[in-house]
Structures are given as structure tokens and as C-alpha cells.
Amino acid sequence: MRSARNRELVALVPVALLLSAGFAAVFAQQSARQGDVSLIYGAYFLAVCLATHVYLRLRLPDADPYLFPLVALLTAFGLVMVYRIDPDLARDQANWFVLGLVLFAATIHFLRDYDVLERYRYTIAGVGLLLLLAPRLPGIGQQVNGAYLGVKIGPLAFQPAEFSKICIVVFLASYLREHREVLIVGARRVLGVTLPPLKHLGPLLVVWGASMFMLVFIRDLGSSLMFFTAFLALLYVATGRFSFVVIGMALFLLGAWFFASTVPHVHDRVEVWLNPYNDPSGSGYQILQSIFAQADGGLFGKGFGQGLITIPGTDAALLPAAQTDTIYALIVNEVGLFGACAVILTYMLIAARGFKVALLADDGFSKLLATGLTAVFAIQAFVIVGGVTRVIPLTGVTLPFVSYGGSSIVANFVLLALLLLVSDRARREARA
């Protein structure tokens, strides 16, 4: 009965080894300066992981055994990267990691019967939209690099989009579970295109509107893309109608194209993406330095702790936002193409396990919830890595579990908790 958890425990062993090796490397690099602090970090991290494992053993004995070790792997890697950038930031990150696990445990504790979420879906949707709006509210909103991403209430600062994504996914999963039949059955072919019935289209257009709203008022191209793609993924899974996806994508691109030509911030992002060399020391600086850092990494990287982040002897950034937006570029720089592939592969494995949860789940809501959470997580990774590698415009989205940032870590642990809740029930029922 405990075989799932035993596998989880075994899977944590390589994580422990990797983490020890990582901190040992940083330790060897910076021992003169840092003393043995880095080793204490490693031990502390492992203890927390072990405690989480024991908690899962007690509360969700049947949940997927690989999700937590994979996430722990990413978190450990992120922690070592952030530590290597700035030990002070790593201390924050470690605290948030613990806070994230506390919320993770709380989510599991209070939402054991997660169907309750369905009952409050409009409330949840409202909270999600409010969270999105918050950065524009006077007094608490904060503008970062031209985008309204942050909220600051007293000493507490956070990025509401990270939490909002969970709310929106919960709402969509619930709404689509109920309306998927009518969306399919009521669909009509107009001029050879299958269109959903207008009556049920309303809430979906609201989602489209919300994405556009984010583009214009929050100016957050990355989150907007992430939300809308996750929405389309869910719509596709719920209805099986690829034409809906095409229509949705067309609507999004139309809107994005319109706003890209009217909203300067969005326009600049796209312009820099297409022609970074037009202003290599200004607007193109971040993406170009990100690419240059990758070019410097090669197959195997320069070695841990060897990459340049600031111009030596100054505080001027050589790789701007190395701890958040461009952390992937630093990863390529220091551990090379191979290391970066390992990171991407980890995200792919998490996505695989997440979709596996969705496949095993019995009821529609569970299926759609697991699919939505997994999709939004994977797409977030794609949006930021794609931005750093110039596949798409670079935006200020975090690399889940790796980037420095409290909101991101905490929200993603809540996301993981929900996935594990779905998984535990699905596997228990499958076993019964």
C-alpha cells in the first residue's frame, strides 16, 4: 500500500545527491568567503524534503510518487543557482520554500475534498480577476519595467498573476466540466468552421477579454500568453474541437497584433524580439546579453559559479535579472547545453506525470483540473525559456521553482498540492 511513497523516497535519493554535489561545488568555489554556510543549507533543505515526504506518506499515501521529487530537484537546483548569484537572495528563497511547503501542507489538509472548489467557482474566478487587476489599483500596485506585475501591501509584496493562474484554471475546469457537452453538441458549422453556441460562449469570451485586458492594462505579455494558451488547452481537452483552438488563437493573435501596434510597451517588446541589434545597449541589452551568455556556455558550460553576471569591478549588470527572468541563460552559461537539457527534461517529466494524473482521474472536474494545472505550469516554463532563447518575445515570467521569487515558489507549491490531491484520489479509486 505504501509502494508509491517508497518509490518517492527512493526518487529523493538522487535529488539529495545532486543537491549535495551542487552545494559542495558552491562551497568549494566560495569557501573562503562563505565559510560552511552552504553545507548547512544543503542539510536543511534535505531535512525539509524528508519532512514533506513523511507528511505525504500520512495524508496522500497514493499520490503520484515522482511529482514531488521532480519538483524538489528543480527547487534544489534553483536554490543552488540563486545562492551562487547572491547568498542573501538564497536565504529569502529558502524561507519562501518553507512557506510554500506550509501552504502546500495546508492545501492538502483543507482541500482533501477538492470538489468543494466547484461550488465556489465564480467566487474563485472573481478572486482570480481581482488579483489580476490588483497591480493597477492605486496605492498597492507597482510598475516594474513598464509592466504592472506587482502588488505591495505594507511589507508584503507579491506578484498576483502567479496565484491568479490557479484560480482561473480551477474556474475553467469547473465551468468546462459542466458546459462541455453543450459546447460540443450545440456547435454549428458556419461557412465550414465549427463554432461553439453563442449562449455558452460568453464566459469564454470573458477569458479572452481578460487576456486582452492584461495585455493592455497590466502590460504583461507573458502572463497573458500563458493564461490564454492554458485556456485553449483546456478548451481543447474538454471539447475535443480543434477548431475552437484555432478560432481562439486567431482571436488572440488578432488582439495581440492590434495592441502590439497601439500599446507602446507591448510594441517595444515585440520590436526588441524581432530586431534586438537595433539598440544593443538599450532595449535590446537584456535579450542580447542572454543570448551571449548562452553562446559562452557551449556544450558543457563554463562551470558552476564561473559565469559572469555583472561587469567585474562594477555593479553594472552583464546579465540583467539573472536571478529571475534570465536565470535560464545563466544555467546554459554555467552548466552548458547538457545541463539546460536536463532542466527542460525535468519540466517535461513533470508535465508527463501531471498529464498521467489527468488520464487516471475518474471524473471530469479532476481530469480538467489536473490538465489545466499541468498545462499552465508547462506553458509558464515555455514562455520564459522561449523568451530567453528568442523563440518568443522576452517577458517577465518566472521559471517555476527555479527563479528567485516568493510568489512563484509559493503559488507553484499550491499548484503541486492540488495535482497531488487529484492524483491521490484517482490512484486510490483505480486501486479499489
Binding site: 481537452v237 561587469i311 547545453l337 488520464l359 481530469k367 508547462a378
Partner: protein
């Protein structure tokens, strides 16, 4: 729904594969091109953490060295040029933000001690940090100082001095100079300066050669057998060439004279006729052998060394292009030459017709003091044979002893040379006046056993080659000969 979930996962896999594809492109396939980008300062920044080797003059004077700044991880090295403007050209500079130039750029690998992958792994295991090598040059500090001081007194221009037997460059001076220590703060000021101090006039100045080019015409005439030292050509005061009169100074009629008299008095009508007798193919063939039309084989970045030859709107002309051969032969037409090229002409004649590759560097010394590489002088070409060179030398001695270049004479030493004064009226860089000339002197000494070949030129001067360029030649040659070579 399961079918759709599987398909969705497939899409995610494709998206992630795209990410890996792009990462591979930047990190591996396009990496070298990205490292070469102007905007990419990473390679330089990484170099800056290595102590770059010193650059030394022939006598050990330190021209460039790196000094540490900051401690620990912030430690970096900054380039210092203790002699200031004296070696701004040809040494150049090397700074993180401004990049590098000239000698610093060309010898970058030696100076940062570039190692093979295997060596660097070994070093890492042994806990050694990469250190740069010193590069010792052939530059004679005293002669460089004299050349620059003379130029500063005479006007903008350049001096190049080559040891004919080896191609070692003893002097490369360009006026106005610049102090490389100013580059980090004032590069844009230097770039905007209308006097173009960053232009190395010795290798990038493209000037009309005037009568110094008659040495090339004479060399072609002797070596091709078109003339001998005894051959006489009738030299009237004026010739009609392509509808335009071609005159001697003061339209002086010399009658039938041989090479010695023609060169000593720089007789235009004599050399114009010789040029036409040679024909385009022959003259261009000899020009090419002297190095015209090619980037000089000097150890400077090829984009910072200009070619010499006949140009039409920036395009190099060949023997098949229509040129006024009579005027090419006397250094007019659309000829534009660098001082380095004219010094090479003098050096080739001085070295019995063999042109050696001009080189600034002499040896590379590793941080432990071991010489790891030494210049092995090599021949660039052999434009003329020894006999022609000897005959030409005799004629060039006449120029200094009794002709147009008497100010180049050094007491107790025989000097061979040729003056040149190309009129450059309405030249924008000279302010557009009508009286400005490009004054030249090229030559070598001692004539019987040459130790140094020199080209000196002054731009935008109202004086003649013998008045303003020949004295510079004399001062620099004397300094080098007294220094014991």
C-alpha cells in the same frame, strides 16, 4: 478526453523540443558568430580577468602592462600605457568597453596566453590561473621619440623605419598621436577629432607618392632590361601626354640623359617616357612585387592596414584598367600609397632586391621568462635582382649627394634616397588651400651596407620633400645608426 490529453502532452513535448533546438543553436551552432558580435563584451571581460602580458620595446622599455584593480571576484586587470602617446600607434589599445586595436588586437592570443583545451584543464587541476605572455617588439624607443618629435615640429604625417635585412620595424610614428590611456574616457572625443588622431598614418594614410614613386619606375626599368644605367632618354622641358602638358620643374630641358642624372634631378619627362616604354603590364607587375595592391604582410589587423596602388573611387585599379601610365610613372595619376609601402620599397632596394616581411614583434616570452617564440625573418618577395638594386642605389646616392635630397645627408655616412613633393591643392583635409603639398623622403643608410630604410612624409605642408621630410629621415637614421643598430 484522454485522447486530447495525450495530444496536448505531445504538443508540450514539441514546444520543449523547440526550446532545446533554440538553446542548441545559441549555445553551440551560432556560438562563434555571437562571440564575434560587436555588442558582445563577454570575451573581453573574461580576458580582463587574465593578466594580459606586457608589450615591450626592443630595449625592454615597457610600452603596455596590465595592473590589477579590486580584490577577490571583482579583481580585474586594466591596461596601462606608461609611455603615453609615444606608442599609441602602432601598439593601439585594449580595453573592455572600447575593444582593442592595432598591435594589441593582432597579438591578442599571445598576450592573453591562449591555451589549448587540454592545457587549460591541466592548469585548472594544478590550481594555476591563465597568464598572458609578454611580447617584445623591434621598436627603437629613441628613434621612435625622435621621429614623433620631428613630425610634431613639421606637421601631420608619418615615419616608418625598417631594418632591410630582416624586415624588423624600428619606427612606426604617426602624427598627430594619441594617448591610449585616454581611450576609456575619451574615445568618442578622439573619434570626433577632425585631425583624426586614431588614424595610424603610417599604415592607413593614403597619400600621393609624388616623385618617390620614380624609384619603383626605375627599378622596373632596370630589372626588366628596358634600360641600363647607360641608356639615355631625351628629356625635354615639356611633353604632351593625353592632351595635357607634362612638365619638368621650371620646364627645364635636360636633353638626352641617363638614369643617374634623371633621378638626381627628378626629371618628370624622362620617367614619364620610361613608364610608357615599360607598358602597363610590366609596371604593374613590378608594383605588385613591391607589395602594391596587396595588404602588407605586417603583424597588424588586416582591416587596419591599407593597400597602396592606383585607385578609382576606392577601387584598386589593375593593369587592364585605363590609366595614364606616364603620370603613374612619376607618382601622379590616382596613386595613393601608405608610408609603410614606400618604406618597403626603400627596404627592398637596400636589401639587394629582396623584400622582407615587415614585422613589429620580435619574440614572445612566457611568464617564467622563457622565450616561446622568436621572429624568423622571411622574404616577402624579390621584386628586382641584386645588380638592378646596386645600380639603383648608385642613382639614389646621387640624389642625396648632389640632387634634390641634400638635406638627408649624414656626415661620414653615404645615404641613398629620393624626395617627393606631390601637390595636393584644394584638399579638404588640408583646408582646401592651393599651396599645400605632400612632402616625402624615402631612403636608406649606409648606402653600401644598409642598416635602416626609412620613409618620412608630411601632409599639407607648403614646403618641399627636401625641406621638411629629408631632415626627419636624417635625424631618425642618425639615431638608429648611432644606437649601434
Amino acid at each position: 478526453m484522454n485522447r486530447q490529453i495525450v495530444k496536448l502532452f505531445g504538443l508540450i513535448v514539441i514546444l520543449f523540443a523547440v526550446l532545446i533546438g533554440f538553446t542548441s543553436y545559441w549555445a553551440v551552432f551560432d556560438a562563434q558568430a555571437l562571440k564575434d558580435k560587436e555588442a558582445n563584451k563577454r570575451p573581453l571581460l573574461e580576458q580582463q580577468q587574465i593578466r594580459r602580458g606586457r608589450i615591450l620595446a626592443a630595449d625592454g622599455t615597457v610600452i603596455a602592462r596590465s595592473v590589477p584593480k579590486g580584490r577577490g571576484e571583482a579583481r580585474r586587470y586594466v591596461r596601462r600605457y606608461p609611455e603615453g602617446a609615444l606608442y599609441g600607434h602602432p601598439i593601439g589599445y585594449s580595453f573592455v568597453r572600447q575593444g582593442d586595436s592595432e598591435f594589441e588586437q593582432y597579438h591578442d592570443e599571445e598576450l592573453i596566453g591562449d591555451e589549448s583545451e587540454f592545457e587549460s584543464i591541466l592548469d585548472e587541476l594544478r590550481g594555476r590561473t591563465q597568464e598572458g605572455n609578454d611580447v617584445v617588439t623591434n621598436i627603437d624607443p629613441e628613434a621612435q621619440r625622435v621621429a614623433l618629435a620631428d613630425l610634431e615640429a613639421a606637421g601631420f604625417g608619418a615615419v616608418v623605419a625598417i631594418e632591410p635585412s630582416s624586415g624588423r620595424l624600428k619606427v612606426l610614428a604617426s602624427n598627430p598621436p594619441y594617448d591610449p590611456n585616454r581611450v576609456p574616457e575619451h574615445l568618442s572625443v578622439l573619434n570626433r577629432d577632425p585631425t583624426s588622431p586614431l588614424l595610424d598614418r603610417a599604415t592607413q594614410g593614403q597619400y600621393p607618392p609624388g616623385s618617390t614613386f620614380k624609384v619603383v619606375t626605375a627599378a622596373a626599368g632596370l630589372d626588366s632590361g628596358t634600360i641600363t644605367p647607360e641608356t639615355t632618354i631625351d628629356a625635354p622641358g615639356e611633353l604632351d601626354v593625353q592632351g595635357q602638358p607634362l612638365q619638368n620643374d621650371f620646364t627645364e630641358d635636360f636633353g638626352p640623359i641617363s638614369l643617374d642624372t634623371a633621378l638626381t634631378n627628378s626629371v618628370n619627362t624622362w620617367f614619364a617616357q620610361l613608364g610608357e616604354q615599360l607598358g602597363e603590364d610590366t609596371l604593374f607587375e613590378y608594383m605588385d612585387a613591391f607589395g602594391f595592391g596587396s595588404t602588407p604582410a605586417i603583424d597588424l589587423p588586416s582591416d587596419q592596414v591599407y593597400k597602396s596602388g592606383a585607385f578609382d573611387e576606392g577601387e584598386l585599379l589593375g593593369p587592364s584598367d585605363p590609366v595614364d601610365l606616364a603620370r603613374v610613372a612619376i607618382g601622379q595619376e590616382r596613386l595613393a600609397v601608405t608610408p609603410l609601402q614606400m618604406a618597403e620599397v626603400a627596404a627592398a632596394v637596400a636589401n639587394g632586391g629582396s623584400l622582407m616581411k615587415p614585422q613589429i614583434w620580435s619574440r614572445v616570452v612566457d611568464p617564467d621568462g622563457r622565450v616561446i617564440e622568436r621572429l624568423d625573418p622571411s622574404q616577402y618577395s624579390r621584386p628586382i635582382d641584386e645588380q638592378s638594386a646596386a645600380e639603383l642605389t648608385t642613382a639614389m646616392e646621387g640624389v642625396v649627394s648632389e640632387g634634390t635630397g641634400t638635406n638627408a645627408a649624414i656626415s661620414g655616412v653615404s645615404v641613398a634616397g629620393k624626395t617627393g613633393t606631390a601637390e595636393t591643392p584644394f584638399n579638404e583635409t588640408c583646408g582646401g588651400g592651393t599651396e599645400e603639398n605632400q612632402a616625402w623622403f624615402i631612403g636608406f643608410a649606409p648606402a653600401d651596407e644598409p642598416q635602416i630604410a626609412i620613409a618620412a612624409t608630411v601632409e599639407c605642408t607648403t614646403q618641399f620633400g627636401n625641406d621638411v621630410a629629408a631632415p626627419i629621415f636624417r635625424d631618425v637614421a642618425e639615431t638608429i645608426l648611432n644606437g649601434g643598430g
